[in-house]
Symmetry: D5
Subunit: 99 residues, 10 copies
């Protein structure tokens, strides 16, 4: 099942710079791992903000939560999840669209 | 450039049924044409509503507006557009992600 | 997978009374059928309103949408869906909680 | 009487880890106790957030407040309560639905 | 149990005047009856609007819904209910405050 | 003139416990004094929150502000005031309803 | 006591023109009468809208409601009232500021 | 003085087509006239909607209101005005920026 | 040109008391000076809050911003400005209403 | 492509004054550089706030994000971006309006 996930990062501006860079590096690696396991399919930045919107795929809401909660920045994230249903006009290639 | 487009259809419940079916059929054909021209890349239904969220691709906001305004249901649509920027962790295959 | 579904009925106050009673009767029958198939598990009225909140269970968002769209009052409904994930402290008896 | 209770935990991300783990452990025990006394009937996690929505049962709003205020994390909770009325189509087994 | 109930009347401005006066008269009689049965304890007008806020008392949310739904203007009402719990500093005379 | 006053207490969760208890004790005494002077007529707790809604009576908005601002917790309060007008169906005993 | 009153006129765009002009003329006369009785002290238009914000003065919320409800356009008005308290730095000449 | 003006057109979808085309033609002519008189300086379409945002220039809010109210579509417009002040980093050529 | 200005003071409750009193004293003096120069014409307190709403008069938005930014409490203020246009029914004495 | 960008600066009021002045100076220089490269075309202050609204021009959302993220105050900014499409009545001189 696919989900649209909007994420706003609320790390304080005066956060320790070294730890911030570590968190960002770890976040990128985790995102790559989630993409490799097909949990994250697309990811975009919202221009002008430390925010992204992504297309996620997971067995159900429990598996999705587990994946999002595994992000190193999770304690600083504000997350909004929209469940997605199949649309008859979705141009996705077979096998990629929700059943 | 990619855009996230949320569309809510506000056709009145007591709309003439024949005309409604014609509009829906024309809308589906138009969506297929927009997909063929790579203007619509993905389309999902918001469960429980006559609403969809889609991943659109267009040269710019003017080309996007022209494409959305070409939908037969356009006069009854409530549309919200979010411009999308490239995210370094986007797992999209090369050539598909925003440059 | 379980979903929390909030439904507000927007039938106009001056709707034809006979058709309204028919729709309500058909709605109740459909709700009974959805309950029999375990798609609707609980249903409550929001006091003071023609609104309800329900605990639904469906394979995924597509199956949920199909079930909600099958309601006779669907064209007059305003629906908001919240996907639900498993909570470690959920007191639900085994087999009923989300896996 | 049943209530729908939405809880968002606002514990600061940089909260002392030891105390946080203690609070979470105490919270889980308290939730178990509230479930045992039939005050909490179901509990779900909102995916992507440190939030839950629960089905609570209490004599009245005063008893409900007392139960929620007994949660160890109470000072950090943002809570929204929706009172629930009986719905004629509620599939709950007799004895479980609100009278 | 006491409830705070905010009611906005959405009768269209061009409603038939005779029927409107009948509805208002019936509404006032019904309100008097609800007051007599101690379901409505206080009622205030929100200045500048066809709206009121009231202090209601009912066994539970189901009884409250039944009372509100019995109002002749119910199909045109937008209603918001806030459940009320006992406050230790409530100056209400004994027997009137929520237990 | 009567006012409906909603108060949310925003005392930080990690506030000094001794000072907090002192403030709460002083707040309760002040509330009792305001009740004695008929400035506060009823007070309810919003279940699940450190919030209350109250029925206040004051000469005008200036006298009401003075009374609210005299609360020891005032610097931490978020307050919303709704002015109340007389409703013809108010069941209040004579002398208690707004003139 | 002074009140800040925001009024949005919701007369439908396709309202009968003759009746509309009559209502507007009657509204202006009524406003003049309310000004003469010191109920309306100032009145401004919100640019770009059929809306105004005004400084009203009335004995209490009941008198204010009576004055607003006397406006010929009242059934089409959306009104929001803010009660005003005395400010120590108000430059109003003596006798004009709230006591 | 410059203003940012957001305009949403609320013409009903089933509006008479001939009259609609006349209104649109008249609106365009009026916009051209307002531009000629330097009241409208820039105008953009909000993609996906029958909405625009414009940079207007007027002596004050009264002159701005007069200009907006002169638009043939005015009765169907929802308008929001933001007053603009000079910014020290505005790259506008001298004579064009607000004094 | 006149403006309606709503100001909410967001000084933290645990702000240093001496500095707070100094700021309040300086704010009052500045307000008196702004009143003397006819920039502030009326000022009211919003009951129950550290907030005020005022009637300001300034050449344009730039002059208004300069005046507001000169307030000693400015860094802690949340300010919302509404531009005001002349209303034909404004009872203001000649010379005081916006031209 | 043009964008409307609203920026609210959320620098804490008690921020170190020296660093604040440095940031403001660097921000102004960066804004000048962005203007020189035609990324920022107009910039206005929202009166009464540390906020601005600007007309930006960029290849696409990715280039826009890069430009905004290059602002020295970026970690303290709350930014909202509206993509702009060509309007047939835009009075912009040729070569300046969006294609």
């Amino acid at each position: 099942m696919e989900f649209l996930v909007r994420i706003d990062v609320r790390l304080p501006p005066d956060f320790d710079e070294t730890r911030k860079q570590e968190l960002i590096r770890a976040e990128a690696e985790r995102a790559k791992e989630l993409a490799r396991r097909d949990l994250v399919r697309r990811l975009w930045r919202i221009p002008g903000r430390w925010s992204n919107v992504g297309l996620w795929s997971a067995e159900d809401a429990s598996a999705l939560h587990e994946a999002i909660a595994s992000l190193p920045l999770f304690p600083w994230l504000e997350v909004a999840v929209t469940p997605l249903a199949r649309h008859p006009s979705d141009p996705a290639p077979p096998g990629e669209a929700p059943a």
